[in-house]
């Protein structure tokens, strides 16, 4: 019998809030699913929109993007710029046929260890229910002879 599907989750998080929050999840020993791989960046402002698409192209089934709450940005406004970027890019992804249920945006502060665990579990469960992101993954073979 084949193994049950385990989604590949990629997360892009800022160093000061969400990464620290995820550290707190650890220090609080709160358990969550191990599917996620975290890429740490200084700020959500640093997260290039293409990284999200690239993650899918590379076979991620789901993507998580998280940073500081509005007003909490370590760099005062990086997350505001990021928010705008996502407000547009998200619409564009949808317009081009990318399934937004596979992209989770969140603010997780350095104090919200529990929220991080919850976030990862929710996103992972959603994507697990959706199944592998075949629609994009199989594109890799299309257009090459």
């Amino acid at each position: 019998m084949a193994d049950p599907f385990e989604p590949k989750m990629t997360a892009f998080v800022c160093n000061w809030c969400t990464y620290a929050g995820a550290d707190l999840t650890g220090t609080s020993r709160i358990k969550y699913q191990s599917n996620v791989r975290v890429i740490r960046l200084p700020c959500t402002g640093r997260i290039d929109f293409m990284l999200v698409m690239k993650a899918f192209s590379r076979g991620s089934d789901g993507v998580i993007i998280s940073g500081c709450h509005p007003n909490d940005c370590h760099y005062t406004s990086g997350n505001y710029h990021a928010r705008r970027r996502w407000m547009v890019f998200r619409d564009l992804l949808d317009f081009m046929g990318i399934d937004l249920r596979r992209v989770t945006f969140s603010w997780v502060s350095a104090a919200e260890g529990a929220k991080w665990a919850e976030l990862v579990n929710d996103a992972t469960n959603t994507v697990r229910a959706l199944g592998p992101y075949k629609e994009v993954q199989q594109l890799a073979a299309v257009g090459i002879e």
């Binding site: 590379r58 257009g143 090459i144 002879e145």
Partner: protein, 339 residues
């Protein structure tokens, strides 16, 4: 000596069925969403008999993206996986004679020094059924290159429409014979009074042979800058061209595996010749435009004994800013004659 038959339009239908039945993929000029594309031909009605497809049929033997090899990272070692070109037997049906001739221009490059396995396999599996043009447009200039709208060169079979309907089928090669053999009875012997629809008239705009000589003296002409001022430096001309053969080799890899791809490229683009240092020997659009003309009309004949152009005019039609190759070449010829 070629065999000549006639075939009615209805029999063409059964001929096509025979090809498909034999496991061949049949492609040809077909109207798709208002554009002529090289697409699957199921019935004779699918075949557009005049007018040029936007993109050439080149992709059948030289795909826009082609996998050359694959590899996997196994620990620190790399496991190579050679890729065999999968080439389904293909018939290009109702192709314009100019496009049929174009395969030769590709062949001389892919078999110049090394023999390209991928191209040759695909070519070997491709049979070309040409169809003489009875119409042409302002961009056509096959006649300026010593060819004709009913040129047989490059076709395995050439169909030419009869006034009375149906076609004369001129079977030119063994490949052609093999194809005919699939449905021998659909072909009738050629009647003596069979009258052909006159081929399209394409007035010669210049003489390619003379042009080749003239170009030798025109390298520094201001004309190139003049003509290319409106050129945007995109690759539309090259990518629709049936003879453009430039390609780029790209590795796409992650930490687990990779593949090596061959993809179309174009000398019209700035980064085509951009060096890592930042220096670019063809930094100006005029230099790139000149290169395009010289490559097709001087370097090809010099080095490969054939023109790098068949006069189909696809480039002119595809150009977003109407760079009309025929007009430009005529202009060059004229400038040359004035010395």
């Amino acid at each position: 000596m070629s065999e000549r038959y006639t075939i009615t339009e209805t029999s063409v239908g059964s001929f096509l069925q025979a090809m498909t039945a034999s496991g061949r993929r049949v492609l040809g000029p077909k109207l798709v969403a208002g554009r002529i594309e090289i697409a699957d031909i199921n019935t004779f009605a699918d075949v557009v008999q005049n007018g040029q497809s936007v993109v050439s049929a080149k992709g059948v033997v030289f795909p826009k993206v082609e996998r050359l090899l694959k590899y996997r990272f196994e620990g620190k070692n790399i496991a190579l996986e050679d890729v065999e070109p999968q080439a389904q037997p293909t018939v290009l049906f109702g192709l314009r004679p100019c496009e049929a001739r174009a395969f030769h221009a590709l062949d001389v490059v892919f078999n110049w020094d090394s023999k390209d396995k991928f191209f040759n396999t695909r070519m070997a599996n491709t049979t070309v059924v040409g169809l003489s043009c009875t119409q042409a447009d302002e961009s056509c200039f096959c006649t300026s290159l010593g060819s004709r709208p009913d040129d047989t060169q490059g076709s395995d079979i050439l169909l030419s429409p009869l006034k009375a309907g149906g076609f004369v089928a001129e079977v030119l090669t063994d490949k052609g014979k093999a194809l005919v053999a699939l449905a021998k009875d659909t072909f009738q012997p050629l009647a003596d009074d069979a009258a052909l629809v006159p081929p399209a008239t394409v007035a010669p705009a210049f003489d390619a042979k003379a042009l080749q000589q003239e170009l030798a003296a025109m390298f520094d002409s201001p004309l190139w800058a003049e003509q290319s001022l409106r050129c945007l430096g995109c690759g539309a001309c090259a990518f629709v061209c049936p003879t453009c053969v430039c390609f780029d080799i790209q590795d796409e890899a992650d930490t687990k595996q990779g593949q090596r791809l061959r993809a179309w490229d174009s000398c019209g683009m700035r980064i085509f010749t951009l060096h890592a240092s930042g220096h670019n020997p063809r930094d100006k659009q005029s230099q790139r435009w000149r290169q395009r003309v010289y490559h097709k009309f001087a370097y090809y004949p010099e080095r490969l004994g054939t023109l790098g152009c068949v006069g189909c005019g696809k480039c002119s039609r595809a150009c977003p800013v109407d760079m009309n190759l025929k007009q430009h070449l005529a202009q060059v010829a004229e400038a040359a004659s004035q010395g």
